[in-house]
Each structure stands twice: as structure tokens, then as C-alpha cells.
């Protein structure tokens, strides 16, 4: 059987991504069939030098943080502080369809690799720049990691327990969510290019990406200056709506009740059918105003049962519920494993390691299977000699002079 064609087969991407957001973007494009050349250097390692390492043993090829956002790519090490390194990067770009970068504003331009320079080499290039605050505006030069983006965007101000301080969302959410918008934009731009032959520049601000999930808060503030309150896990239209303790260490179940019928079912399963007739709880409106009384009653029930039993009994009765999984449980979840979301590409140094792949299937199967992340500089010879036709002795000279490193 021939391998099905992937949507980005034949598309080459020069990846100047840093840390997570743009590396994550380029990884998704690599999964979709693009040939992604990650341009990095041993002089300026980020995630490769950061934990988590396989079995906590450091090593440039042992970082899970790197390997899970750079799978299916090639690695080419170039010293971009050396003009010869930049010249080689320009050669790679000249034969690439897409350039992606998230250096600080102005860095690519100073190296002569900005959009205008690149367009002179490759008129139909699709070139994406992502910044914490974007490439324009008074804060464009400021550097910001995920916590800053959470805090600037206002997201942290709607995350947290009642009366307590703002909280940072887990999972480095701003980086990967920005990456999703980047992938969407790049796919649209490639579709446009296929139809018209025209490339373009794409610019993304991570702080704006986060603000796209805050329409109610933005609207209310702009109408009358009302700032949102932090309400923990509660919801303005549903009650009970929370995460409740189960027996053991750190076992939690999420329950969300959106109707009186669902509440009646919950009360019955919890062995307290009379809750549904209690005037404090009999309607959504009543439950919304008596959550302080209702939540402890529910927790008294969940504290006696394993998470899975609570979830299964509620779901069987038509009440939305789910476990609050930790990351190990996500990777071992039978449901997600069966759907193919969990994949374990075999890495040359650390062996097979589970990771999350596509959140969707196409006609019932994962659209593609990720290959493991490259070793540092693994594809130097392939990129330099096969792609750029650099002769052997010249390749050796570039290695000796530290241009390739």
C-alpha cells in the first residue's frame, strides 16, 4: 500500500523557533508532512538544556521539554553570530517555502534575515513572526515568558479562588495556544499561496491570543468599568460546577450540572434523593445561591468513592463528570490511548517515550504518526551536503571554524 499523501508534503520550513510557541507550531507542520529544518546552535541552548531530562539525567538529547515540541524535524546547527553561518541560513531559506521565528523584535532583521531580506531571496515566502507583545506598539521590545503573558492579558485575573490572588494557568498554555493560531494562519497562507502564487508576512502577539478567550470580561469592562471577580471553579449559569476531592492523595473529580434533571440524577446516585426537593437546591437559581452549602455535601459523597466510580455512575445517568487527570494519567488514559492520541516514537538516545499527538482523527485514524525529535546537529550533513550541495572539504572547514556548531 502506498503511503497516503500528507497535506504539507513538499513544503520546506526553516524553523528559527525559540523555546515552545514557534517550535510547537513547526512541529505540527512537520507532523502534517512538511520538511522542517530546525536551525539551532550548541552555543545557545534553551529547552535542550532544561529539565525534564530522561530519568533526571541531563544531556542535550535527553530533554523531554525539547523532544516533545521538536519531533519529526531535522536539526541543523549554525552559529548565527558568524557571518558565514548567516550566509548558510540564507541559503536554507532560499530553498524553503516558510520561515518561522520568535526571537526578540529586531533580531532576525539585525542578522539580515528579516522579512524584507528574505523576500528578496524568495519572493513567495510565507514568513511568520511571533512575539510576546507582537512586533509593533510601545511594548514590542519587551521580553515576556508565559507568566508575564498570563498576567498582562488579564487571564490570570479571572483565574483563582474566591478572595484569593490571581493564578497562572498550568501547562504553559499561552505558548501552545499561540502555536495553534500560528498553525491555522500558516495553513491559510499556504492555501492562499497555492491559489495565487503569493506569499506573505504573518505577525502574532501572544498577549492578544490570550485576550481572545476573554470576550465577556472585555465587554463588561468596556461597558461600565466592571472588573471580573475570581470565582474558583464556579460557573455563572451552572451549579454544582466544581472539582471535588476523592479518597487518597490528590484524586479529584470534576462535576458540572446544567439542569434540574441532571441534579435530580446526581442526588439519587449520591444516595440523597431528597436534595432535589430541598428548596435550597431544587432549581438552578436556588443552587447558584446556595453553593457554599451544596458543595460540602457533594464532597462528603465523593470523598468516599474512587474517582472512576463517581465518573462512571454520573455519566451513566447523563450527568457531565470527568477525572482531573495528572499528566501521567493523561498519557496512560485507555480512552485517549485507544484513539491514537498517545504516540511513543522511538528516540535514538532515550528510547520510546509517550507524547500527545493530534487531537483529531481523519476518517477514524490519526492523520500521521510523529517521528522522534532529532539529536543536536543530527542532520548537518544532510542539510549542508544534500540540500545546499556544500562540498566535503568545505563542510569540514565550516565544522573546524565553528560555523556549523
Amino acid at each position: 500500500m502506498t503511503k497516503p499523501l500528507l497535506p504539507l508534503e513538499g513544503v520546506r520550513i526553516a524553523d528559527f523557533g525559540q523555546i515552545i510557541a514557534v517550535p510547537y507550531t513547526a512541529q505540527m507542520l512537520a507532523w502534517l508532512g512538511a520538511e522542517v529544518i530546525l536551525i539551532e546552535t550548541e552555543d545557545r541552548l534553551t529547552t535542550r538544556a532544561w529539565p525534564p531530562f530522561a530519568e533526571a539525567e541531563p544531556g542535550v538529547n535527553r530533554s523531554g521539554g525539547f523532544n516533545l515540541v521538536n519531533s519529526s524535524k531535522m536539526s541543523c546547527t549554525l552559529n548565527l553570530r558568524d557571518p558565514e553561518g548567516v550566509a548558510l541560513a540564507r541559503q536554507i531559506i532560499a530553498v524553503s517555502d516558510v520561515v518561522v521565528e520568535n526571537y526578540s523584535s529586531g533580531t532576525m532583521e539585525r542578522m539580515g534575515l528579516g522579512y524584507e531580506d528574505v523576500r528578496a531571496l524568495r519572493p513567495d515566502v510565507v514568513y511568520l513572526s511571533l512575539g510576546a507583545f507582537g512586533r509593533t506598539g510601545p511594548m514590542k521590545d519587551l521580553v515576556g515568558f508565559h507568566s508575564v503573558i498570563n498576567l498582562f492579558s488579564g487571564l490570570a485575573s479571572v483565574t483563582g479562588h474566591k478572595g484569593s490572588h490571581p493564578r497562572i494557568m498550568g501547562g504553559l498554555f499561552p505558548d501552545a495556544f499561540s502555536g495553534c493560531y500560528c498553525v491555522l494562519a500558516l495553513l491559510e497562507a499556504l492555501y492562499h499561496r497555492a491559489n495565487t502564487g503569493e506569499g506573505q508576512h504573518i505577525e502574532v502577539a501572544m498577549t492578544e491570543v490570550l485576550a481572545t478567550i476573554l470576550p465577556e470580561a472585555v465587554m463588561e469592562y468596556s461597558l461600565d468599568g466592571t472588573e471580573p471577580e475570581r470565582v474558583g471553579n464556579r460557573h455563572q449559569e451552572k451549579a454544582p460546577h466544581g472539582v471535588f476531592r476523592c479518597p487518597g492523595d490528590q484524586n479529584w473529580v470534576a462535576i458540572s450540572v446544567e439542569s434540574d434533571i441532571q441534579f435530580r440524577a446526581l442526588a439519587k446516585i449520591a444516595g440523597s434523593p431528597r436534595w432535589a426537593d430541598d428548596p435550597r437546591f431544587s432549581t438552578t437559581e436556588a443552587r447558584l445561591s446556595h453553593q457554599d452549602e451544596l458543595e460540602p455535601l457533594i464532597e462528603q459523597w465523593t470523598e468516599g468513592l474512587p474517582v472512576q466510580e463517581v465518573v462512571e455512575s454520573l455519566q451513566a445517568a447523563g450527568v457531565p463528570a470527568g477525572p482531573a487527570l495528572d499528566s501521567a494519567q493523561v498519557l496512560a488514559d485507555p480512552h485517549m490511548v485507544q484513539r491514537g492520541f498517545v504516540q511513543s516514537p522511538d528516540h535514538q538516545v532515550v528510547g520510546p517515550r509517550p507524547m500527545g499527538a493530534f487531537s483529531w482523527t481523519v476518517n477514524g485514524v490519526q492523520p500521521a504518526i510523529p517521528r522522534s525529535a532529532p539529536l543536536l546537529g543530527e542532520h548537518n550533513k544532510k542539510v549542508m551536503q544534500e540540500l545546499l550541495q556544500v562540498p566535503d572539504e568545505e563542510f569540514e572547514r565550516l565544522l573546524e571554524n565553528g560555523v556549523i556548531r
Partner: protein, 410 residues
Amino acid sequence: MLQEGALAGLKVLELTDQVSGQVAGSFCARLLGDAGADVVKVEPPQGDHYRRSGPYPGGVPDPDCSGMFLYLNSNKRGVSLDIESPEGRAAFQDLVAASDFLVSGQNSAEVERLGLRRERSAASNPGLIVVTITPFGLTGPNSAYLGDDLIAISSGGMAYATPGIPDRVEDPGREPPLRSSTHMAGYLAGVQGAMAGVAALLSRSITGTGCEIDLSMQEAVAAVMPFELAHASYHEAKPRRPEVFGVMPNTYLPCQDGYVVVMAVMDAHWRNLMDIADNPDWAELEVFSSGVERARNWDALEPLLLEWTMAHTGAEIAQLAQERGIPCFPAYTVGQMVDSAHVIERGFMIDMEGSGGQRFKLPGYPVRLERTPWQFFRPAPKLGEHTSEVLGEWLGYTASQVSTAGVEAR
């Protein structure tokens, strides 16, 4: 001249949960409209759930002015159909047959009951791309489970991971895993659904046929946590306990008027930070001599730094710090973000007007595409606003066919 979007000329039909609503399906379809596709939203006669959810510009419920509805449904036209009636269902099937995309946001039982799987329409429309967004997907042992944002954020692993780094759980025994008060999982699944849809469109250019995309909200959440999953995959899952690791300070602290990010992970940053804090006598202590030492001794350092931050406003600290190249910022409330010079100068927010002339803002589009820019092509439709227009244009329905099948604008 108005530029065309990248997806100009493509037809998208959207059907979202008629009872509970779903952000993901609506947002997915809006994103395709944002890129220039002709998106038609099908609503039941009583209207979409989010017409009843607010916030409302005048504070008075008005189904044509609910903020969530306006936000999720701009760049679409609206058709009102009773798909539970034979005539309405037939008109819906005719619209599916004329579409490039069918986007649905439902639970999996509804997807089956309403016949939204691609096999139903593939014979008459082989190019059709079906995007279904369900709580747990259409296959697998939990596919029948119901779910909403809280359930997806929890079962996808993000609630457990919150608060994240550099935050920390204060009392892990009492403090449950946390969501944000947003429809985060819905937006995540919506953007990923649009990604999957455009990827399928590129595939269709190669193969000539459409496909069925089955997107799970649970997985849409888990998919944006590679770093978290890496911990479990490479060493061990990050525990929920008060801990500080790496190098410090890399955190945020209360200050006079809110909170301020205090980040000085490099030694040069730390020396500059101590300079602007007027070089207190503890600055030179051996226990604070490196980022790693400062993390190890954070319990001693935190109250000392807190004493300094509480004596200043966030803006004062940020200004002093930024002059020295230290990445400190005040934490913004939503209002401070909306009013910030940066957001205003970039023109990110869209100005809206309610039916009573009330002026308000909604978030704009976070991506600037130079040649195919995002545009506010049209505001969200009034209920049934385009029923006869679309049934006529897409299907050639006559006025009498429209009145049998659809519900006219009031």
C-alpha cells in the same frame, strides 16, 4: 478595495448544540469566516444558546445583542431552521449537500441522532469536509460521555496543572485543581478544529475528496500541554505541592496596587534588581548568591522582597526595572489590559455598538496576515436574518419553499 480572505469562495455550514450550546463549534466556524469563507450558522427557531447568555449592552436581555453570541458569530450569516421537522431537516440536508465544510459542535449522541457523520452525505457531496467537535470524540470507550469546559479542562490534565509555574499550590490538600473563568477548552478546540479543517482542505486539493475530522475537546486540552506531558514521559509527573524549582526570583508578588512580576533569573538581573531596591543589607548574603541558591532559600527571600514590593506600585517597579533591562511588569486586570497604550496603539479591540447606542469593545483577531488580513466582514446575524437569502442563493429555494422550511426574521 476590500481584500478577499484566504478562504474566499468556500461554503461552511455550522450546527451547534441546540440546547446547551458549545463554544468550540461556533468558534471554529467563525475562524473559517474570519479567513473569508461564506459561513452559514443554522439555529433552531428559539435561537442559539448564547443568545440567552449575555452580557447585554443595556443590561436587559436581548437575543440579538448577547455579547457571547456577537463574539462567537461575527463573519457569519444566520439561517433559522427547525431541523426536528421533516421539512427543516430536508432543507438542512440540502445545505449540507451544497457545502465545502460541515462544522458541528455537539455531544456524540446528538451527532449520531442528527445524522451529522460524513457517510450520510459523502455520496451526494464527495468533497465535503466534516468537522465534529465533541467532548470526548466519536470513538473510544468514553465517547458517549457528556462534557463541558470544566470537564474538558479537568480530563485533559490542565486543571491538575493549575496553578502552574511560577505559581504554586498553597494547600494541596484543600485547594482543588483549577480552571479559569473562561471557555478555554472551547476556544482551544475551536482553533484546532479550524486547523484540522484547513489541513483537510489542503489534502482535498491533492486527493479531490473530503474527509471526516473527529476532534475531542479532552485531547484539544491535552494537546497544548507538551511540557507537562514531558515531565510524565521523561521522569515523573509534576506533583501538586508547594515547591519552587529552577532559579529564582521568577514569580509575581503582591505590591501596593495589585501584583507585579519579579523576574531576575540571571545574575546581572539580580544585581540590578538589588540596585533598584536600594541595596538592602541582605542582598549580599551567601544564601542569595545565585539563582539556584535563591530558589533553595526562597522561603527566606520571599518576605524580604515582599517588603520592598509592598512599598511601591506595580508601575513604579516595572519602570525602574525596565530601565535596567529586567523583565518586570505589573499584573494587569482585564480593564488595565484593555486600556493599555500597547493594546490601543495596536488597535486590537473592536469597537461595537449596542441597539441602544451603548459603546463597548470585544477582542479582535490576534494574527495579522499581510495579504489576506482578518476583517470584520459582518456582525453576527439576527435570528433568521438570512434564511431566505441563503436558501435562495445556495439552493434556489422559492419563497414558498422557504416558508415551509425555515423561520423568517421577526
